[in-house]
Subunit: 329 residues, 2 copies
Amino acid sequence: MKDAVLAFLKEAQGYGSGEEISQKLGVTRAAIWKAIKKLQAEGYEIESSTKKGYKLIKVPNIITPNEVGEHLNTDYFGKSIYYKAEMDSTNNKAKELAREGAKEGTLVIADCQTGGKGRLGRSWESPAGTGIWMSLILRPKILPQYASQLTLIAGLGMCEAIQEVTGLEAKIKWPNDIVVNGRKVCGILTEMHAEMEGINYIVVGIGVNVNMQIFPDDLPHATSLLLEGGQEYSRKAIIQSFLKKFEVDYNQYKQIPSLESMRARYEKQCITLHRKIKLLKKVEGSVTEVVAQAIGITNEGALKVRYEDQTMEEVVSGEVSVRGLYDYV
Amino acid sequence: MKDAVLAFLKEAQGYGSGEEISQKLGVTRAAIWKAIKKLQAEGYEIESSTKKGYKLIKVPNIITPNEVGEHLNTDYFGKSIYYKAEMDSTNNKAKELAREGAKEGTLVIADCQTGGKGRLGRSWESPAGTGIWMSLILRPKILPQYASQLTLIAGLGMCEAIQEVTGLEAKIKWPNDIVVNGRKVCGILTEMHAEMEGINYIVVGIGVNVNMQIFPDDLPHATSLLLEGGQEYSRKAIIQSFLKKFEVDYNQYKQIPSLESMRARYEKQCITLHRKIKLLKKVEGSVTEVVAQAIGITNEGALKVRYEDQTMEEVVSGEVSVRGLYDYV
């Protein structure tokens, strides 16, 4: 009902009288009035005039299925959306839906997470109204050993989506953080359930700091698109652009589970390359720091580095983490 | 209570009077009588005489925590056992316990599974009283791309355990089926939940056909240890031997996630090697058959093969499956 009234108002592009709407949708005017109230509660600005009826003044910056699904030009990414204003964590919900058999491409979105998680069990700030907290369910028919590339491809899609929508110079910090002006705006947490011979499901969880005005002091490396660009951005536009780009790359990857065909694009966006970095190597509980030059990405998503003694190595995420010589990036 | 009475009777090695037991355990003779009834219902043969008291005549071939845990000389494998006579599937239960935080080494055992599963979603016959249906929870601190070796190591442990307990010539059909006289007695289904940078948990599910007298006609490749050896075997002894052997290898593997130090032992037990085999390659939905010579195993658990035109390849489980030229093995 609410959805039908919204669709009517969006199409009308002016006033629609209660009588008109009521005839078109075949419901009472009281039911329409109720739907209008609900839409206003979600943030839609709707003017009502006794004479002229209702008019949609402004669509809010919200990411409900109605908004994200509107004119979404993908084949299957985001064609089924599970949305709740508040969730524990979208990855948890997506895993639950995946266990219950949810289709590939199902998207879980929350406006706010109460227990958002980053990699390695770290907590992730996910306040209401300002960020994108979403998880996408995938079921590629590949072996689990090829899954780690996928999270780099998701990072590439989000980096390009942020560039397209905001015009900001978003870059990828290998393997898959997105940074703007040296600070993190996006993190990706990919989880999978697999047998040795195949993947049951993968959940790609993505958090983007879009319109936050401020961050806690203990997150010095975090920023938002608003803080860097000086304006508010449409969360819906970023989600839609990401889904479209990632779907194209993912279809390619399902054919051949390798970065090869996207590697040039990834390397172009990757700020870690062609400079000196610190590698933090975890060896038996303690962390060793080594300075190296990052020189490229392999088809498997590993980082090729050259040490100061000119020896080369390919390092994989999880065995090392990477810092800039003087800062986070 | 029941456990204490059983422990007393096992230690007594002769008759224990109701009064003796009652004094030792500090409970009434009526409570002891109840415990005896419960033990008898589980299959323990206990003689009771008005004069002499109770005597344990025969321990049944059961795999309750009491029996499997008795004199189990492992450090942490099987030190916590979750047992139910009937379960949907021990892998499902183990995954549930793992999600709730169960410790590494926790073992789930069922006497009978109502929804037992083999690899690739195939069903697995798991009747009561005759087989070993169990799942072990592991939490190795390794990257998910190194997990596939683990299932070969589990297969090696079970192959050696069956040899030790039964004296039968059990062999490994790569990657991890155990066969006796060319027919399958054991299958392993390993499932994992991982992030890209680390494994959350692995569940190693193992089914062993121990004392079945007969198999359905549609399982021509299946057999039991009893059918091949002509006698009944102790399920408890096989489980204990396996846990001990697998724990030693697993500790090694956690240090260096490679087959290297166990490869010679694996190759010795692997019946797939040094003979002509058929490789069934799955390519875009259809299956191609190629004849090849199996010549070795890599440290990653792949099978090294030489084709008839002398080219070599390393194939991984999931991309191919293997058959003998004229039969299953």
